[in-house]
């Protein structure tokens, strides 16, 4: 058994363990602007995650019709009108760069928007809290029930079983939705229901069910506080202009009870707006006191704003004692100046420019992406062959990439050695000297290519050679270069 060690003890003698025992958090329900935003975003995020695999997108006969699909066996990634091949994985690099800088930009504008509203950990934890609240009751009831741990009432057991069952159901659905991104969703759902899905699908569902259940049901805010690197990184990305969920201590201090504050104010003395009701602490999903200032544990979900606003309205004081604000404005207000907000700063401009820049490069790359490509590889053993009439032949392996969704015919032309002839092994060409090849849709075609040229016309040891590939129908051109070598 671990003995609970209070943080205070550790600071005093300096010899205690560096481990702080976990304090269970029982967030209270709250309603207000930010709660509504969070509900909305939760519905949106979960809706996208759970339903996106079922969205269809017609790509023609034979191609998968799932809008978003990671097709690992065929090494293709489909995203609506985009189809990527493995060698185009750099698009993901670009996407990750944009995602990272978008996080930076969010941070410099509005603090931990990602953490508070969009992070899967926040969204699922919020959902699991909602279930817990629905089954076990609000903060006080949950605390009371947790305190009466020893009581073996049947009701309590039923409640716990119900809660964990719903949690597991959500977790299972979460894991189930994940695997749908890797296979045709309706087919896989049918297979899963009839227990005919691949073993790997069940394994992944089990893994993700377990992680969702544990992370959202039990680890909750500890993931943010102890496991996630982002709170540490974001501390380096914020500045004095970034808006953060802030307790406006210039307005709030000194905290005084409502009655006492009214008395003091009647006497012409100052009293803070904060009535020390602890509502901001009660609703906090990470169990902190926002009035202690910006801290790593604060995910900036805005629920304390709602809680405080409700109290302020009730006692007839101005709302947003807790709100999105920054240090500069607190200082300005203390100096009697009006607050100013600056969103256009070198930091935000640079981030926006970087996003726009990377986005533009990616868009350009995507729009000008070649749908016909050719690679050539010279035979290395033997490099060159002398034929019985003395002429020289080099063999090449040529690989075509047809990224279009239909078969097409290409012609191969050759630049380089003098009086050279081109022959494709296995293809009896109708047009001698200009072989025509049929490239199957959405795949690579590999052929053996023989280039023969008279030795006397090509005295050089090595001659650059260029294979030009032309789509007969569309006129698309691709080329690859190599060398023609004499023995």
């Amino acid at each position: 058994m671990n003995k609970t060690v209070l943080a205070a003890d550790i600071e005093i003698d300096g010899t205690g363990p560096l481990y702080a025992a976990h304090k269970q958090v029982y967030p209270q329900s709250v309603s207000g602007t930010f709660r509504r935003i969070k509900w909305g975003l939760m519905a949106f995020c979960l809706g996208v995650y759970y339903l996106l695999p079922f969205v269809r997108w017609n790509r023609g006969l034979g191609a998968p019709d799932q809008a978003v699909l990671v097709d690992l066996p065929n090494s293709r990634f489909y995203f609506f009108f985009i189809e990527l091949w493995p060698q185009e994985v750099y698009y993901f690099t670009g996407l990750l760069i944009i995602a990272a800088i978008t996080l930076f930009l969010m941070n410099s504008v509005g603090g931990r928007i990602w953490c508070g509203y969009l992070c899967p950990q926040t969204v699922w934890t919020d959902l699991f809290y909602a279930v817990e609240r629905m089954v076990e009751g609000d903060r006080r009831e949950r605390m009371r029930k947790a305190a009466a741990r020893g009581s073996r009432k049947l009701e309590r057991f039923a409640e716990l079983i119900l809660k964990h069952s719903i949690w597991l159901l959500i977790a299972w659905w979460t894991g189930g939705a994940w695997v749908l991104y890797f296979n045709d969703a309706p087919t896989l759902v049918k297979q899963l229901a009839t227990f005919q899905a691949p073993m790997l699908a069940y394994i992944w569902i089990a893994i993700l069910t377990a992680t969702t259940f544990l992370l959202a049901g039990f680890m909750r805010e500890q993931v943010c506080v102890y496991m996630c690197p982002w709170p540490r990184i974001q501390a380096a990305l914020t500045d004095e202009w970034a808006l953060n969920v802030t307790y406006k201590y210039d307005r709030g201090e000194k905290r005084t009870s409502l009655k006492k504050a009214n008395e003091l104010r009647a006497l012409g003395q100052t009293a803070g707006d904060c009535v020390d009701c602890y509502q901001c602490v009660a609703v906090c999903p990470t169990g902190i006191d926002i009035r202690d200032g910006a801290q790593l544990d604060c995910i900036q979900c805005g629920l304390c704003i709602d809680a405080c606003d409700a109290v302020m309205k009730k006692i007839g004081r101005e709302t947003r004692l807790i709100g999105y604000d920054n240090d500069i404005n607190i200082q300005r207000r203390q100096a009697g100046k009006p607050p100013i907000y600056r969103f256009v700063r070198p930091r935000t401009v640079v981030y926006s420019a970087m996003i726009a820049g990377v986005g533009a490069i990616m868009l350009y790359a995507l729009l000008t992406r070649s749908l016909l490509d050719v690679n050539v590889l010279h035979d290395r053993n033997p490099v060159a062959v002398r034929l019985s009439d003395g002429s020289i032949r080099n063999a090449y392996t040529i690989r075509f990439l047809n990224k279009r969704a239909f078969d097409r015919v290409v012609a191969i032309d050759l630049d380089g050695p003098n009086n050279a002839t081109l022959h494709v092994v296995g293809a009896d060409s109708v047009t001698p000297d200009r072989p025509m090849i049929i490239l199957a849709r959405d795949t690579t075609t590999e052929l053996r290519l023989l280039v023969t040229a008279p030795a006397e016309d090509n005295p050089e040891k090595s001659i650059p050679v260029k294979f030009r590939v032309t789509d007969i129908g569309l006129g698309e051109v691709a080329s690859a270069t190599d060398n023609f070598v004499s023995p």
Partner: protein, 290 residues
Amino acid sequence: MAEQNEIDHVSGKTTTGHEWDGIKELNTPLPRWWVLTFYATIIWAIGYWIVYPAWPLMSSYTTGVLHYSSRADVAVELANLEKIRGEKMVVLGSASLADIEKDPALLALARARGKTVFGDNCAPCHGSGAAGAKGYPNLNDDDWLWGGTLDQIMQTIQYGIRSGHPKTHDSAMLAFGKDGILKPEQIVTVANYVRSLSGLPTAQGYDPAAGRKIFAENCTSCHGDTGKGNQDLGAPNLTDKIWLYGSDEATLVETIANGRAGVMPAWIGRLDPSTIKAMAVYVHSLGGGQ
């Protein structure tokens, strides 16, 4: 231990009772966990003897209750491999050689299979790229001793050359010098004549008329009147630019004097028919196939 061993007063440990010139050994037994692990491994080993093959006997070995054999594993794995190849290899076995080469998918399959088998079986002589060496033909070029069509290549792979198989190609170049058919100076003369057939320079003082005469009397039955060779007999074309053993005078003299009879083994029976087919297609597709 019969008596209580002495205790060392400095360390407080017991001694083993061994003493060398007044130096006594401390008793430092192996840790308990180590000893237990050691006993566990002994028990494990006994279990292993029972379950797995372990002890050699006079003519066999104890098979263990599982009758495990890595050899049997290989057989199972190979059978599985054949099952995986399954249909494709069946198609390869039934399709005609020409059809295989015309179907891109079958061609790719045959080439892949052929390349692997070539590397395992043919590369020691012909080289990994089939470029050959002295006495071992280059299979990339268009010069064929026994014919370069698909069927001819397949025939050669199946039965070999001078392999001893009843159906093998077995005619050979005679040893004109060793067997006393030609005199040494005649051999030099005809060697120069052979060089002249493909436009190579001849030695000083060489008599073309004598060369032609010796060639006509001794060589034309196999190599033909014009020296263009005869694939039915494996007689090479002497007018082209490709020489299996070399085109210099000394090598030609050696060839004519001692004869040549390179050997290639018959692969029928050693490789299954569809594999031989794949190899024929592979060799044909290297570029020289006719």
